[in-house]
């Protein structure tokens, strides 16, 4: 369970993580698309973090997540900006307004809601080789962990494993949505950059929980 102060710090860590991985994510994207994915997401996160910092460290997690998502959306644009921004704005809506505001149940609810909107707005379904393919197993795993009453860290460990498996599954897929659809068959054999970005996000939340001594 994370509190608002920890969410503030987590958003710093997420921003750093995308900065460190932007070359790698753009390289993946470049194999089938524009090659701008990692740079765009990193730029969007920087814009989000700037807005979060302007709020100071005494605000609510809901506010941090909302403004981070909105600024990321505005900065990145394209299809990826709004879709990726939704991860944060929906987590913000799911977060509780008290000191212990984001646990497994809130993570599951927020990502589940983001997944539904992403599928609806982006028109992607399972198997289209998009971020949805790593989101579906992640959300499923989080929901199961909530039902089974698992600890925060245990639930995140499992979710990160499922997200990674989801990325591996995209390797054999042919892109039907997103920029990668331009090359269709040629997209086979390469993991999807959006799915990889989502996996990195889940893994970073897991690492952060571990660092904070969460059980």
């Amino acid at each position: 369970m994370l509190n608002s102060r920890q969410i503030y710090q987590l958003l710093h860590d997420i921003t750093d993580m995308y900065e460190e991985n932007k070359q790698e994510l753009s390289r993946l994207d470049g194999l089938v698309g524009d090659g701008d994915h990692g740079f765009s997401i990193a730029r969007g996160c920087q814009a989000g973090l700037k807005a979060v910092r302007n709020l100071g460290d005494g605000a609510q997690a809901r506010e941090y997540l909302k403004i981070y998502g909105r600024e990321l959306t505005n900065e990145v644009g394209g299809a990826m900006g709004p879709l990726f921004g939704l991860l944060f704005t929906e987590l913000g809506r799911a977060a509780k307004a008290d000191s212990a505001c984001l646990g497994l149940a809130e993570l599951a609810a927020g990502l589940d809601s983001a997944l539904a909107i992403i599928c609806q707005l982006g028109g992607a379904a399972a198997g289209d080789k998009t971020m949805v393919d790593s989101m579906i197993p992640t959300v499923k795993s989080l929901k199961r962990s909530v039902r089974e009453g698992r600890s925060f860290l245990d639930g995140l460990e499992r979710a990160a494993l499922e997200a990674e498996k989801g990325v591996q599954d995209t390797v054999a897929m042919v892109a039907r949505r997103g920029r990668a659809k331009y090359v269709r068959e040629r997209s086979k054999g390469v993991p999807d950059a959006g799915a990889t970005s989502f996996y990195y996000l889940v893994r970073k939340v897991r690492d952060f929980a571990d660092k904070e001594g969460q059980q």
Binding site: D36, N74, G78, A79, P82, L121, K181, V183
Partner: protein
């Protein structure tokens, strides 16, 4: 990649700065936003804006002007701007009578425009999206709303702008723009893909002895391939796609757009146009004031988009209204 550019990250800034240096008397950039706007938007008219990615010049920055677009929110290369930029364009264009947000049917354009329209409406502005789609080979007729927006969107930049300039209310402008869209059909053929200035890689692949027919404005994979053949046959085949899909039969006059995709020469566009004209004459269809030029481009893609608009009298009248937008200057020569 051999392009005459500085760092890829600087493309938008460099290009927009040059564009506004040339046109600063009539156009400006909104502070802190990626929006090109008219300086002299008439009071008491419905605003017309669009948000879209760069890389298609002169579209759409070149279509900002009197009797055309009031503002263009631009994104990065082939990537729509974030919603705050489109919202900024809406706020600038709003003269109290609402704003039409023309939206070419691509995921990013629809998502960001959709959010901006929602934000504007929350702020009490009557913003409405009109979706533009015209590429007949991108989806079958029963899934017409899934078709991509391509070169035929050109008609609305001119016509919806001129119609709004006459002072009609927003419901009327919305209906008119939708009617223009419903009467527009486009098919695009390409011989050589463009090169992405970001990655330096070709956007798609086309064999040396083939054309791709049904390719999108970002080089999206085409519906089918065609062996190299005489231009008369290509023109007839492309015209047939449009005539079959769009119900242009009879003694209608249609407005024809022959749009070069970037690399194609004016020589080829004129020769291609001649073949289209001959073919339509055989079918008993006459052409009203065609537009010929490279208006909506895909970097240096070699290709031609052919669009037909089944124009009614009102559309024909508005097609000739003067505009000071710099991007309508083709070699048809009638659109200035």
């Amino acid at each position: 990649m051999k392009k005459f550019i500085n760092e890829p990250e600087q493309i938008a800034e460099d290009m927009i700065a040059s564009f506004l240096s040339i046109h600063h008397r009539r156009l400006k950039k909104l502070t802190g936003l990626s929006v090109v706007a008219r300086r002299d938007i008439e009071a008491d008219k419905v605003g017309i804006v669009i948000g879209n990615g760069l890389g298609h010049e002169p579209a759409c920055i070149g279509f900002v002007g009197k009797n055309a677009l009031d503002c263009n929110a631009y994104g990065n290369l082939f990537s729509a701007p974030g919603p705050k930029h489109i919202l900024g364009a809406i706020l600038e264009a709003d003269q109290g009578r609402g704003v039409i947000v023309l939206t070419s049917n691509h995921a990013g354009d629809v998502l960001n425009s959709g959010i901006a329209v929602r934000w504007a409406r929350e702020d009490g502005i009557d913003a409405r999206m009109v979706l533009l789609y015209d590429d007949v080979l991108s989806a079958p007729k029963h899934l017409i709303h899934e078709r991509r927006g391509t070169a035929g969107t050109f008609f609305n930049y001119r016509l919806a702008g001129a119609y709004a300039g006459e002072g009609h209310d927003i419901a009327a402008v919305e209906r008119f723009a939708s009617r223009v869209n419903e009467r527009t059909r486009t098919v695009t053929i390409a011989s050589v893909p463009g090169t992405s200035p970001l990655s330096g890689e070709p956007m798609g692949s086309i064999r040396a002895d083939e054309y791709e027919i049904g390719i999108g404005v970002h080089g999206e994979a085409a519906a089918s391939v065609l062996k190299v053949q005489p231009v008369s046959k290509i023109a007839a085949r492309m015209a047939d796609y449009l005539l079959t899909d769009g119900d242009y039969q009879g003694a209608e006059e249609i407005i024809v757009l022959v749009n070069g995709c970037g690399q194609t020469t004016n020589m080829e566009l004129l020769i291609f146009y001649g073949e289209v004209e001959r073919y339509l004459q055989e079918k008993g269809i006459s052409i009203y004031r065609p537009a010929i030029g490279s208006f909506i481009t895909t970097q240096e893609m070699g290709g031609i988009a052919l669009s037909f608009l089944k124009a009614d009298d009102e559309m024909k009248r508005l097609w000739s209204r003067p505009t000071d937008a710099p991007g309508f200057m083709g070699i048809g020569g009638n659109l200035v």
